[in-house]
Symmetry: C2
Subunit: 144 residues, 2 copies
DNA sequence: TCTAAATTTGTAACTATTACAGATTTATAG
DNA sequence: CTATAAATCTGTAATAGTTACAAATTTAGA
């Protein structure tokens, strides 16, 4: 549903540089993971997946990297899950659905597009997140 | 914007009983606070506001009560804030705006109504939350 | 009034996140 | 190619929100 991003080191490096982020090995690795998996991971998921390949990696580095990428608007911080924050590459605007059974988070797109809305009741809008929860397609199937 | 609920003990008690919740003094107090303030509070805000009137109150009771009211669909759990969960009485469907400067959460209503959407991409939808973030009206004014 | 069930309470445990200082790596100037 | 400074990364400790749990209290039913 969301277009596949080129996850070559060169492209990931460029994405960082374009946004003013120095492309360290750790930063490239984190962003590459987000692009490749597109699974809205937590800090811990990212850490556990990368540490086998980067044995010296620190959880703090993952936290620092995600904070930096978030500030530079390379990624967005999803508050859809109630126990930890999730991260997503900023691509074309889309919404999210979380399954209450398997906890997976899916990209979805509702018909209406409010991504252009700049203010409401005099409040200046900078970010919009539309979150849905329920039972995902797979889990529905398995229940029968 | 959202209609004022009757916050008399009698009415709050009825709201609980209708949803199958035994109306203990603590439960009535918590729900009354939510209805009266309509400020999307955290557990801690609720606790700090009630404990002067209920000196024996335990934080755990506030957690337990909110969990129970959430399960019985008396209140909804908002994941808009990134550090703690916020709670809201379930009234007419509406959306939320959080100010990044003062952190206040406002009730808002976007034009489009998707509250009737029952499924998307085959996933069964049970809850929808639309979250906006930016700078609120007051904070915008104070910046000038 | 006695007994059992439900509710509340306080403490301990757990987990996500942040603070921070020291170690390492990278960039810059001589 | 050094020497030095700046940036980045790392590991540990501290913080904060939440949950687990058992004991105490309250409430409901016999
Ligand atoms: Mn996404
Ligand atoms: Mn609200
Ligand atoms: Zn599922
Ligand atoms: Zn504000």
């Amino acid at each position: 549903m969301v277009k596949n991003e080129n996850t070559s080191t060169e492209n990931v490096k460029n994405l960082l540089v374009e946004k003013g982020v120095k492309p360290s090995f750790q930063r490239i690795s984190v962003l590459k993971y987000l692009l490749r998996e597109n699974n809205h991971p937590s800090v811990d998921t990212i850490y556990k997946n990368l540490v086998p390949y980067i044995p010296t990696l620190s959880r703090t580095t993952v936290y620092n990297t995600l904070k930096l990428l978030s500030e530079k608007e390379v990624i967005s911080t999803l508050t859809i899950n109630d126990t930890d924050l999730r991260y997503d590459f900023i691509n074309e605007p889309h919404d999210h659905f979380q399954c209450k059974t398997c906890n997976a988070i899916f990209d979805v797109k509702v018909g209406v597009d409010i991504s252009g809305l700049k203010s409401i009741d005099g409040h200046q809008i900078q970010e919009i997140q539309l979150h849905m929860k329920g039972v995902c397609r797979q889990c529905l199937k398995e229940k029968n």
